[in-house]
Symmetry: C2
Subunit: 467 residues, 2 copies
């Protein structure tokens, strides 16, 4: 039996404080260098030397200004503001690497699909097929106000928009140019055979796009499609579209169930059960000895900012203003806060317990602190028992978190046959995930219908989001 | 008296055939490599070694499909299709250079200002202040149809939109963050002083944008503002906004007049007469001997595609279908073509003469072919008599055109004191154009009003475009 190998992406964001708030102040942390090109080129070279699949870039297009009724906490903490565009660091990282993949987050809600399609095709060309796209539908109220809206678009409607957005993208990426359209025939002075390129003439509820796509076909055509799910609408959407799903869960059972739900949904959409890979955010703190691990836990833990976490969580009350022994659920009911906050706080949790939990390094099931053997044991359990395929490595310190993983955990995983020894030369990101010859979306993925030019004339049935 | 030095940008586009159609087939031309990252990194290193000010990237966001009622000619010729996003090659070029500037074309008509503001600030950070923006308002009918419109937005309305677009950008770039907002105070755990960052709360006729800007202040804040003018609306717009104007003219007199008109307009907007630099597109073919020049003229000339030019020019008739001796103006009147075509063809020009002219290397006043001495004589005349400040070097061959200029013309210009000998370490693109200490827009530029937070609350008077 071949052992399942771990896929590893570094979880990054083009900002000071992404998800481990407060740690930017550590003197060895490089996060304050995010505005500098050499931060990104050094990081890319480190990750490629360590055999990472990809660097995965989160993004938001607004500010967290719900907590304490303003952006002050986010600004003070450097919490996802300032933050720069994530796409623009990819070409620089691509210029100094040959194999590392790049996942980039982009929202379907506020920017036109034609321009985005071209940007992703450009990245796929420049990287020779090393890009993936994390599909999101924006959730910050401030993001809506940055793009002309008064309020956020309703959740299910955001998915309707996203579904049509992808329909447009697929027509451009998969249907507008044939594989053999570009002939580069110097003798007859023909760069492209015009009979193999076409308008898409998309007319839908939200978009009207003529085409043709401006880019010739790239290695992957459609970038690898990543998505985080949770809601019924999100699961329906992922069933049709996603190739890599970010999942999670608080227990072995919930994780297995979440994965099975998604596989069933993919099958319902005519796809193979293993056409989706499952990735979780993992927090890993390691060291050569237990003492070194304990030192790191202490050093990181004492810097964590609970205020940063409350602002990130968009909490409409400041728990620091309440007595530690009060029960959070009572505050939520008394202040008439949205019921979703009741899901986040266990019924009996006190303010003190909640603050301690939010200020803790341990953010749930996929947390492990220990020597490389302990970490590798746990990772094997995640792979074999929980059924995940890979991790987004949460960074406490850059570059220390990635370097520790590469220097300590990777050799141990390799000894156990759980981590690749080298990249396959010239492979695309999709091939790295799904195997040689799989550079493009498989034939049973929804998008592949547009490889038949006739399909461009037949509107696809939009997904229904009744959930 | 100090001699005026020449500013030089390479005129580029992320495509096969930009403005010298047909020449991509030459065996020594590298244009077919535009999809590859190393095309751009090699080019950038060549230009920096030659002391160029910048590489200047043109762009369109649609296809030329008027000529022969379809995109076939453009596709066959590789004429600006396929074409990739221009912004995304900049970070790769920045990663392998330290001084070279980057000008990028972006249209204000179809994409939201908030996202564009962030992308340009990101580029300004990554390049440490080496970026400029060529402001355009899109003119291809197909571009409109790629972004949900049935027809192009009316010309003067495009400028109204652009004027408000820049108002939004200036508020984000100049007004949203104070210079000293980012404190990086590790001891007190403060990355940004929240009292020095603000919402912009822009509400106008076309845009509604809350802010704050997501990026901290970059070296230049506002990128260097480039614009091509011609129409009365364009001149009015440039008077308020532009720092570098692409100009031209068919004679010494028209060039001087165009420059003077622009300087007067800048003064009418409260700016200094020399607050605008003037750049023309120049065609330069050079060689070590007259014979070498003649060989290049012949080799390039016989490859030029007149069909590519007709498609580029969006000509609604195919002149190749008419007798060579027929007068073009008569065809234009008979076929009831737009009167603007009458401006392009002299009253008596025959079809044969027009085809020869469109298929000629010599595209007007700023064309010179000769040994370096001949070229340098002509450049000195452009600088001193015509009053220009720089050129966008038109490429016949990449990299041959740039390499010839660097190896042959630059040494001759340096001997004459007409070309800088070295870059100033750490200077921004704006400082290179306007002098040390001028990294940001000057205090009498319209945008500078937003450095006073109170100005964000007082709507600026929009420009009037009655022309």
């Amino acid at each position: 039996m071949t052992l399942k190998k771990l896929h590893v992406n570094l979880f990054e964001m083009n900002c000071v404080s992404h998800i481990t708030h407060g740690l930017w102040v550590h003197p060895d942390n490089n996060r304050h260098r995010f505005n500098d090109l050499d931060y990104w080129t050094e990081l890319a070279q480190l990750l490629e030397a360590g055999g990472f699949d990809a660097v995965f870039l989160a993004d938001v297009i607004g500010t967290y200004d719900v907590f304490r009724n303003g952006p002050e906490t986010a600004l003070r903490e450097g919490m996802q503001i300032p933050s720069n565009d994530p796409m623009l660091v990819i070409p620089a990282m691509a210029a100094v690497t040959r194999h590392l993949g790049f996942g980039v987050t982009f929202s379907t809600t506020y920017e036109p699909p034609f321009a985005f399609a071209r940007r992703m095709s450009t990245l796929d060309h420049l990287t020779k097929g090393r890009v993936g796209w994390n599909i999101v539908t924006s959730y910050l109220p401030n993001a809506a106000r940055n793009f002309g809206h008064d309020d956020e678009v309703r959740h299910d409607q955001r998915y309707e928009i996203a579904d049509e957005y992808l329909d447009v993208l697929y027509k451009l990426w998969e249907g507008s140019w044939d594989d053999d359209a570009v002939v580069q025939d110097r003798e007859n002075r023909v760069y492209t055979d015009p009979t193999k390129v076409r308008y898409i003439d998309h007319v839908g509820d939200y978009y009207k796009v003529a085409g043709p796509h401006l880019c010739q076909p790239s290695r992957q055509r459609t970038p690898v499609l990543f998505q985080a799910t949770g809601s019924p609408a999100g699961i329906e959407f992922a069933g049709r579209h996603a190739e890599v799903v970010f999942t999670g869960g608080k227990s072995h059972e919930t994780i297995r169930r979440n994965i099975q739900t998604m596989r069933d949904k993919a099958v319902a959409h005519g796809r193979e059960p293993d056409s989706i890979k499952f990735v979780v955010m993992a927090s890993i703190i390691t060291g050569r000895t237990d003492e070194e691990v304990a030192q790191k836990l202490h050093a990181y833990g004492q810097l964590l900012s609970v205020e940063g976490s409350m602002a990130h969580f968009q909490l409409p009350v400041d728990l620091l203003a309440y007595p530690r022994e009060e029960v959070v659920a009572n505050i939520i009911r008394r202040e008439r806060l949205a019921s979703l906050f009741l899901d986040y706080f266990p019924p009996d949790e006190t303010v003190g317990q909640a603050l301690d939990r939010m200020g803790s390094l341990d953010q749930g099931y996929f947390f492990v602190a220990g020597t490389p053997q302990v970490v590798a044991d746990r990772i094997e359990q995640w792979l074999d028992e929980d059924g995940i395929d890979g991790i987004n490595l949460r960074q406490f310190m850059s570059f220390e978190t990635a370097r520790d993983f590469i220097e300590l955990v990777v050799p141990e995983l390799r000894r156990r046959g759980r981590y690749r020894h080298a990249y396959e030369p010239g492979e695309t990101l999709r091939e790295r995930l799904f195997g040689a010859g799989q550079a493009k979306l498989p034939g049973n993925h929804f998008a592949s219908r547009y490889r038949d030019p006739q399909a461009l004339k037949q509107p696809a049935a939009p997904l229904r989001f009744d959930g």
